[in-house]
């Protein structure tokens, strides 16, 4: 029973996060590209997305920092690494390049998939392949994810 409640909570948080992406405009790749197009006609909206998310997030993570376990029980799985590594920077640069090509990142593309877009499905499959390539051939020098 408790386990099922946990899964339901996971599902509900997924839905709410998806609603946030839809309402904020993040689930629209053209809007994302409009934000990334600094030197063209620039749409600053996504700065407000980040502002809103971090404003609320700061409070949540502050409360968590005073706790030793999750409200549903169990340990906190919060990354403790502080080292700035090459994989962190190179991976993020590559991720950003892909983000700039199509305007999709992992959350929004799943929402677009749910909205019935075939291109989102193809993107998700390619994304899984990319993750697997990283896992299989490049995971030797990075462990413990953040």
């Amino acid at each position: 029973m408790k386990k099922h409640f946990g899964l339901l909570s996971q599902y509900a948080i997924g839905v709410v996060f998806g609603w946030g992406l839809i309402i904020s405009g993040m689930s629209n790749p053209q809007k994302v590209l409009g934000f990334l197009d600094l030197t063209g006609l620039w749409d600053p909206s996504l700065m407000f997305v980040m502002l809103g998310a971090v404003m609320v997030g700061l409070g949540g993570f502050y409360v968590v920092s005073k706790r030793t376990e999750a409200f549903f029980g169990g340990a906190l799985h919060i990354p403790s690494r502080r080292d700035i590594t090459k994989p962190l920077i190179i991976g993020s640069l590559i991720f950003g390049a892909g983000w700039g090509i199509a305007g999709f990142c992992p959350g929004p593309v799943l929402v677009a998939l749910g909205a019935g877009h075939l291109k989102a499905l193809v993107f998700v499959v390619a994304m899984l392949v990319g993750m697997e390539i990283s896992e299989r051939f490049f995971s030797a020098h990075k462990k413990a994810s953040s």
Binding site: W19, I22, S45, A53, G60, S92, G98, L110, S146
Partner: protein, 145 residues
């Protein structure tokens, strides 16, 4: 720099962002984990008995969000995809590889990482934003795709 006032949506974007923050905060408070979509998804590739169900639940929530938005609020998401199939495949590969290799994406590093003042996530966020700006500049203004 020219602002696209026609597309600018500060209020819905701020509100949507706050909803993202609520979800991320609830996630870490209730489940004790970072709401990082790339990490949650990539964990499905090498499933362990104990974690596949919750990862799938969260992903299913995201995928069904448009349906639930239509059901509860009568809202339908705007999704305009102008990239061709080739660009979609390349972008997907880069996003998947980069997010995994760099230990996170816009949600894990961007929202959660900045919210918990992680120096690694700040560096990651500046890196992917910079690369995003540069990529769009090159594609739209130098090559003219």
């Amino acid at each position: 720099m020219q602002i696209d006032w026609f597309s600018f949506t500060p209020i819905p974007s701020l509100l949507g962002g706050m909803i993202l923050g609520v979800a991320a905060a609830l996630y870490v408070l209730l489940h004790g984990r970072i709401l990082g979509i790339s990490g949650i998804v990539s964990g499905l590739l090498h499933p362990k008995l104990t974690d596949t169900a919750w990862r799938l639940s969260l992903v299913l929530g995201l995928v069904s969000a448009p349906f639930m938005a239509a059901l509860f609020f009568g809202i339908f998401p705007v999704v305009e995809i102008e990239s061709d199939w080739f660009a979609i495949v390349i972008a997907g590969l880069l996003v998947g590889f980069g997010a995994h290799y760099g230990s996170g994406c816009t949600s894990g590093h961007g929202i959660c990482g900045l919210s918990r003042l992680s120096p690694r996530s700040l560096v990651a966020t500046l890196s992917f934003m910079g690369a995003g700006f540069l990529t769009v500049f090159v594609l739209r203004h130098l090559i003219g795709v």
